[in-house]
């Protein structure tokens, strides 16, 4: 099956080759875990390696922040905009939603103008202010996600997680049912040092690596490394040595 490669070393292997085309893919994590970096790397790789122009839809950060952040990894987003391979659009969820509902709206026109195949939506959390009713919110996001797919886009949607360590899903996990894949980024404390862990929780229509892997944000972008070995409870944020917990389990009895 055709795959949309993220270009992130290690992640494409976890996704069995990459994301599926025209799918909505949620990346959730606490501040600083690299959600936006992951999304920008996906956009950058699409442009330079796959000839797939991209859009960045931002609901909070100004475009110059993306140019600057991308530049720190050596990704020249300004030049890509000049070459009509990228558009960084600052807007709001309500306006982008209404725009996508129209025939020939601005986002649709932009997709056609540059032939966009990929989109980063940063972040889905901002939709939460559109409705307090989870069912209504789910319906809004459902429409939005379907509009992106209709435009032929493969999307990475970021979502903020409040908790720095351990369990900290969004306020409405119903959104997780709407997406095709769900990647969790977590901080993990091991021997008084904070590490970063990545888990592909779900991938509709494909198998995927179920392991929890360490990743780093390097000067070249995100690199996913080897699985955490000999430890359990990684996603709790405070993993234990497996032997310790094994002993503890028996000692307690």
């Amino acid at each position: 099956m055709e795959r949309v490669k993220t270009g992130i070393p290690g992640l494409d292997e976890m996704l069995w080759g990459g994301l599926l085309p025209q799918t909505a893919n949620l990346v959730e994590g606490a501040p600083g875990t690299g959600k936006t970096t992951l999304g920008m790397q996906f956009i950058y790789h699409g442009i330079v390696a796959c000839d797939e122009p991209g859009l960045v839809l931002t609901f909070e950060e100004f475009p110059h922040q993306y140019y600057s952040d991308a530049n720190s990894f050596g990704w020249d987003f300004c030049q890509m905009e000049r070459e009509d391979k990228l558009r960084v659009v600052m807007t709001s969820p309500e306006v982008s939603m209404a725009d996508l509902e129209q025939v020939g709206g601005r986002i649709e026109s932009m997709v056609q103008e540059i032939g966009a195949k990929r989109i980063l939506v940063d972040s889905l959390s901002h939709f939460e202010r559109l409705s307090k009713d989870p069912a209504h919110l789910r319906s809004i996001v459902y429409g939005f996600v379907n509009a992106l797919k209709r435009e032929g886009l493969t999307a990475i949607l970021t979502r903020e997680s409040v908790a720095l360590l351990g369990e900290g899903g969004g306020t409405d996990d119903a959104l997780a049912f709407l997406v095709d894949s769900y990647v969790l980024l977590r901080y993990v404390e091991i021997e008084s040092t904070i590490h970063k862990a990545l888990l592909v929780l779900k991938m509709r229509g494909s198998n995927h690596d179920k392991g929890i892997r360490e990743y780093e944000i390097t000067p070249r972008g995100i690199e996913v490394r080897a699985p955490f070995e000999g430890r359990e409870g990684i996603m709790s944020g405070s993993p234990r040595q497996m032997a310790d917990s094994f002993v503890q389990a028996f000692v307690r009895r």
Partner: protein, 126 residues
């Protein structure tokens, strides 16, 4: 004597690109509009409501609502209905965009800024 000083100042301050002077006197004739055109120059793909633009610009919606409408009337911005929302975006006209880009580039120069501030203050006193 005071009148002569003012006249001299006026002439000194008018010493700028005539097109930019006209742009300043007829379109960007307030500090809020200056902020707004700079915002749209930096974010040329933005389409949004006055409420959201106010948030991005760090102003109140009451402060910018009328200024947005005037910029739209003067052809710098476009005003459109999107469902029940009134949204603003940068006018697609190439000439206006080029003029705006020249204005923003010129604004990086301190001397130009001093002159521009002079004209805006004079304009608001009229």
């Amino acid at each position: 004597m005071e009148e002569m000083d003012l006249d001299l100042t006026g002439r000194l301050m008018a010493d700028m690109d005539p097109k930019l002077l006209e742009f300043l006197q007829t379109k960007v004739n307030s500090f809020v509009k200056w902020d707004l055109v700079r915002f749209f120059h930096d974010n040329p793909h933005t389409t949004d409501t006055a409420k959201n633009i106010a948030r991005y610009a760090g102003r109140s919606v009451e402060t910018i609502q009328a200024e947005l409408a005037e910029l739209a009337r003067d052809g710098v911005l476009e005003e459109n209905q999107l469902g029940e929302m009134t949204v603003y975006s940068l006018a697609p006209d190439r000439h206006t965009r080029e003029l705006l880009a020249r204005f923003v580039r010129a604004s990086d120069d301190r001397q130009f800024r001093v002159k521009a501030i002079y004209h805006i203050i004079r304009g608001t006193r009229r």
